[in-house]
């Protein structure tokens, strides 16, 4: 059994003597007898070797497919080795929230640089130090909008990731917020309907680019009307795509939120991921969560601190902008390392390669019987109509060792035929060709 307490019997005795207690049990005497647990049925401990073997066996029970074209908001991007190397430095991962700036300049500066990079990436002014994930970031943005407009209606495009929309629904259930969902027209946003719904009661309008089907659009007109009516524009973005796509800032969004998993985080069965939030300047004091700011020390040297803490729960309690305390700091660090390592050119090139890979795959799909690539503009993910249903196709492809994509019918009842397919920079010509060949066979 592994154990991490260093006390020797001799020391325990010494310490008890100092305390003036006869036994360790005596230290628990404030716990009333009738509250004490009758039994504690846990298995005996293991050695490190045994525990790791158990974990490896469990991991081995997960099936690994030959190659995957599954995205759906969570992507298999290459993670440069440096990202793992930096995030496994104990100076970062065994520290906690940088409450004491003199002892935490490393974490604080890293957060500050992360804020800069995410703000620049999205074309907005300010960012926070991270939220839990893309879905909770969306929820926090909605709460921000509702508070700052003092209105209660939100207009949500159904092209926003359905998982995030479900999370939003659950999180705002007990609040006075009315949600109006705007059905997509096929796989594209119905911008006319969105415009119609934006009125004097609207707190926020929410769209995603690219949307869940991979379609890229321009929401400038929608956001312009929102601004005229005093509503807040929220755009859910996919970080890698912003290497080339129009930014939330350029479209006139007030708040941008996104799932940061694609920036150097492993898929890891759903987490830990990263909620990115950036905003225009006027929302700086309304942001939820931690924020690093630059200042000077008593000798005039540059220093970083957690700033605007008076917004936060440990000071403002029930009136805080959010209840968040622990965030996803180490994930934000990974994202910062990823972005700085790829840099100006590498990040753009990565986006272009993603587009090219998915484009190649899309061309191949056009020549397969019973497959119809849907009309739209795409980044690295696109939608195909599959004769006979997308779920059946995916199942047949699984048997051939391929994960063929996301059957949209799992989330949209009217889209049983639609398959959403993704290719990242990791997919090689061989993999794509092999996949297309298998698909042709299945559809024959």
């Amino acid at each position: 059994m592994a154990k991490f307490t260093p006390h020797t019997d001799e020391q325990i005795k010494e310490m008890l003597e100092v305390i003036g207690a006869g036994s360790v049990d005596e230290l628990f005497k404030d716990i009333p007898e009738d509250l004490k647990a009758k039994e504690f049925n846990l298995p005996a401990g293991m050695t490190e070797n045994e525990a790791l073997k158990t974990m490896k066996n469990l991991a081995g029970m997960n099936k690994k497919y030959y190659v995957s074209f599954l995205g759906g908001g969570f992507y298999d991007h290459y993670i440069p080795a440096v990202v793992d190397s930096v995030s496994s430095k104990p100076e970062f991962f065994t520290a906690y929230t940088p409450y004491q700036p003199e002892a935490s300049q490393g974490t604080l500066q890293a957060i500050f640089e992360y804020q800069t990079m995410t703000a620049k990436l999205t074309g907005l002014d300010v960012a926070n130090a991270s939220l839990y994930d893309g879905g909770t970031a969306l929820y926090e943005a909605v709460v921000m909008a509702v508070r700052s407009t003092r209105r209660t209606k939100i207009v949500v495009d159904e092209g926003v990731n359905p998982l995030f929309r479900r999370m939003l629904k659950a999180h705002i259930k007990n609040l006075d917020i009315q949600r109006v969902n705007i059905k997509t027209a096929g796989i594209k946003p119905d911008k006319e309907k969105m415009l119609d719904e934006i009125d004097e009661n609207t707190a926020a309008v929410i769209a995603a680019n690219p949307n869940f089907f991979g379609h890229i659009d321009d929401y400038s007109g929608v956001f312009e009307k929102a601004s005229e009516k005093g509503a807040v524009s929220i755009l859910n973005f996919y970080p890698i795509s912003l290497g080339v796509l129009k930014t939330p800032g350029e479209m006139g969004a007030d708040i941008a939120v996104g799932e940061g998993q694609s920036l150097g985080l492993p898929l890891s069965f759903g987490g830990p991921y990263l909620g990115i939030m950036t905003a225009s300047k006027k929302y700086a004091r309304k942001l939820p969560g931690r924020i690093a700011g630059e200042t000077t020390d008593s000798e005039g040297k540059r220093a970083y601190v957690l700033t605007l803490q008076a917004r936060e729960q440990h000071i403002k309690r029930e009136k805080a902008t959010s209840n968040i305390c622990s965030n996803q700091a180490l994930c934000a660090l990974r994202a910062a390392v990823y972005m700085s390592l790829l840099g100006r050119q590498g990040f753009r090139d990565t986006a272009i390669i993603n587009m090219e890979r998915a484009g190649k795959l899309r061309e191949g799909f056009k020549r397969i019987n019973g497959m119809k690539v849907m009309s739209g503009v795409f980044f690295n993910e696109f939608a195909v109509e599959v004769k006979g249903g997308s779920k059946a196709f995916v199942n047949k492809m699984l048997a051939k060792g391929f994960v063929a994509g996301m059957p949209a019918g799992l989330f949209y009842i009217d889209k049983e035929d639609v398959l959403v397919v993704n290719a990242t920079e990791k997919r090689t010509d061989n993999e794509i060709n092999g996949f297309l060949a298998a698909a042709r066979e299945v559809m024959r």
Partner: protein
């Protein structure tokens, strides 16, 4: 600690200066000392109807946040916009250039319930 004559006060450490049908409201020298350097004042919702004792806006300092309760019922009619860029005015001049908001008074009799400078001085001395 300064307490200005001619103003009214509350136990929440706010002051009220009555000017015709308008009440000018701020926080006292005692309050600004307790809060420390003020870093932000939330602009109140203009035109909002408020009742005496209800929170109308809030101020933030580095390590604290405090609600501003309206000492008097009425309608919010003004905000000291200079505070948006210089919240420190509250620390430098809590009774003059650091005023926070104005309220159109609904019921003049409410001022009877406020503390005089004398009564407020006694109250704060009791706190020490």
């Amino acid at each position: 600690m300064e307490i200005k004559e001619g103003y009214f006060y509350t136990k929440e450490h706010e002051w009220v200066k009555i000017e015709g049908d308008t009440a000018k409201i701020g926080i006292t020298d005692y309050a600004q000392h307790k809060l420390g350097d003020i870093t932000f004042v939330e602009p109140p919702e203009n035109g909002k109807e408020i009742s005496a004792g209800s929170a109308v806006t809030g101020v933030e300092s580095v390590k604290a946040a405090s609600d501003i309760y309206s000492p008097i019922s009425g309608k919010v009619s003004g905000f000291n916009e200079a505070l948006e860029n210089e919240p420190g005015l509250i620390n430098e001049s809590p009774y003059d250039s650091g005023w926070i908001l104005e309220v159109k008074i609904k019921d003049e009799s409410e001022k009877e319930k406020l503390l005089t400078a004398e009564a407020y001085r006694e109250y704060t001395e009791g706190l020490e």
